[in-house]
Symmetry: C2
Subunit: 389 residues, 2 copies
């Protein structure tokens, strides 16, 4: 157990028909909200009306700020900051998936910052204050509803950077699994990949201190998520499977799983962020392209950890550590394929050549530096990317 | 997944030598503390000096209120409330184990309540406000450092009652595993029993909704705690084992494990509290006396759950559900014996006769009513107690 500080102050309100309570919770934080959402799907599925009625019922004024896209843009966040300031809102309400919540966090922090909000993402400035943020989660995956993490992209430089700060933890997040029943299987697959990799980044990268709490936690949740996805593929309207996945995704990246592991790194997210900046690709898809290649490159360094993963997640018991490790990587890759998430650049129809590899490697190196990940060289990055072609 | 609301706002500061930071955290909540502690062991092991120096370093005035005993008394809490009011303290600092923290919670809530603080424990009044509470944990077991739970005893009526309220969550809890290295094996055993049963109350009593998150969470932590205890018995100064247990005990009863399980009940704690009220016995010891008897009485109702416990915690794979369930109960009871926790009234030298059984049953029924546990009759309670003789 390494030393750690942990605080997860977000109040989670989980269950059917809980979204209509959002006004009550908002009223604790002010009477004027910036209401941030995405491309408008919340209007067609009825969530918008429920939220608006709940806000009006509590006499809360709100300024709509729609248009957040998947892989949300810093330019859009900056405009949101201007709107929030001009309208003098007292808090932010984000209704959507991780993208919407992540951009809302940028607006919440940028509201009080004189400089360029992108500074936070480049780690050249630290957040000192942020507007209160409340969320209604519609797409479980990123865990952003119960952590201080945020990821944005800069469309000019094609960079996609992210960081974690305690001021960005939502005050209240409402999780109603019934709104996830209609998420297409393709996007559900990307979401389950994301949640699994959140659990496994620390699992594979922490030093070898004895860590049974964190290992059993990660294995239990990954096994649960795999079970959920099987049930959802069988019946996308299975409430229990959707609800269990929704909560598992939150638990996957809220700080509990990595507390005590010490300095973990997130190499798969590092690579996937760079892919997401360069290509219009879902985050989970980018991860499933990278993960098998990264695992094949890395398993020799901590083979026992990969063997443990194979045994405790996939029940692979035969062979020596090396054999088990490889069988586990193979099982994980096959699972990605089975659920419909790409496992190579080719699968995702991404054009890639020597030149592009160089460019990606440059950007991976830059973000690795910002995230203080030291172990990758230009050569090792290109080697890993080549395993993903 | 059942609907739930979860908020765990406590900041956990975990690690070696963190106790000396307590003054810094206290300064966020005021400049005058009621400093609650127990029988004085913190003076002999040096913790008292570290705390006092840290408080003085931040210019924080403190009124000492020592003398909390194991199975803390409501009469002592009431005097503490008077002292806190007279001295107009701004917050409470509890330094000790679950008993000290639990009594400090009573003082924190009683400070603002005109009536008898015992009303909260009888569930005839609800807490509306409480003084901020900070804790330094010296004996991991109860989870009180990261939850809103409190248990007190009334020495006149021999009743030991407890409840959970969100206002009682500590603001900050410092967990330094190095101060637990000297806890005698006997008390360590009682502590690990308590933490395990916190994880298992919901596991065995929730309805049969599919609950893989919560089941894997409980199993992983119970297995971890069993591993920790084996290492501690081998070498009581094993920091990693002590630290891992310390964090496991916090995670065992902070709300994460039961979130989504719906209405669980805590029958083993129900019985153990009554024992703790009638006899001068450690809480963990009372639990290990009750648990095997309770399991033997109850396994027929949800045999599959007891079989799952046997398989996933003790690796028992042979036989039908009934056989596995019984083998799991047997393995658990043997583990209690192995670590030195009593598994019968006789083991603990508790005198018990027909008359006493009646009296215990009355009190179990009374607390069951307060806790809204409906399934036990006087007869079934006596039957369970007889299985524990």
């Amino acid at each position: 157990m390494k030393d750690f500080t942990l605080c997860i102050p977000t109040k989670i309100v989980f269950g059917k028909n809980k979204i209509s309570e959002i006004g009550k919770y908002c009223a604790e934080y002010g009477n004027k909200a910036l209401f941030v959402y995405g491309q408008g799907s919340i209007k067609s599925n009825g969530i918008y009306d429920i939220v608006v009625n709940s806000l009006k019922g509590k006499g809360i004024e709100f300024i709509e700020y729609p248009g957040v896209r998947p892989n949300p843009l810093v330019s859009h966040a900056k405009k949101g900051i201007e709107v929030a300031r001009k309208e003098k809102v007292g808090f932010i309400l984000a209704v959507g998936g991780g993208s919407v919540i992540d951009e809302a966090k940028a607006i919440a922090a940028g509201f009080f910052y004189e400089g360029d909000v992108w500074d936070f993402y480049k780690n050249t400035a630290k957040i000192k204050a942020a507007l209160p943020l409340l969320t209604v989660l519609t797409l479980p995956a990123t865990g952003s509803e119960m952590n201080g993490g945020t990821v944005l992209s800069d469309e000019n430089t094609k960079k996609k950077f992210g960081f974690i700060n305690k001021h960005l933890c939502p005050k209240v997040s409402i999780l109603d699994p019934s709104v996830t029943l209609s998420i297409p299987l393709e996007y559900t697959a990307y979401s389950v990949v994301d949640a699994c990799i959140h659990l496994l980044e620390g699992y594979f990268t922490h030093d070898d201190t004895w860590s049974p709490i964190q290992e059993r936690y990660a294995e239990g949740l990954v096994r649960t998520i795999i079970e959920c996805m099987a049930k959802i593929m069988e019946n996308p309207k299975n409430y229990e499977a959707r609800a269990t996945f929704m909560w598992a995704a939150t638990l996957a990246w809220n700080g509990i799983g990595s507390a005590g592991l010490g300095g973990i790194s997130s190499p798969n997210h590092l690579f996937a962020h760079i892919l997401g900046g360069h290509y219009d690709i879902a985050h989970g898809a980018a991860l499933s392209i990278i993960v098998p290649g990264w695992m094949k490159y890395k398993y020799r360094e901590k083979t026992h950890r990969f063997a443990m993963f194979a045994e405790n997640v996939f029940g692979i018991k035969n062979g020596d550590e090396n054999k088990k490790a490889l069988a586990g990587i193979d099982a994980f890759e096959k699972w990605f394929i089975q659920i419909g998430s790409p496992v190579s650049f080719r699968d995702a129809n991404l054009s890639i050549d020597e030149l592009k590899l160089d460019e990606l490697a440059d950007d991976v190196l830059e973000l690795a530096d910002i995230w203080d990940i030291k172990e990758y060289t230009r050569e090792s990055i290109i080697d890993i990317l080549k395993l993903c072609l």
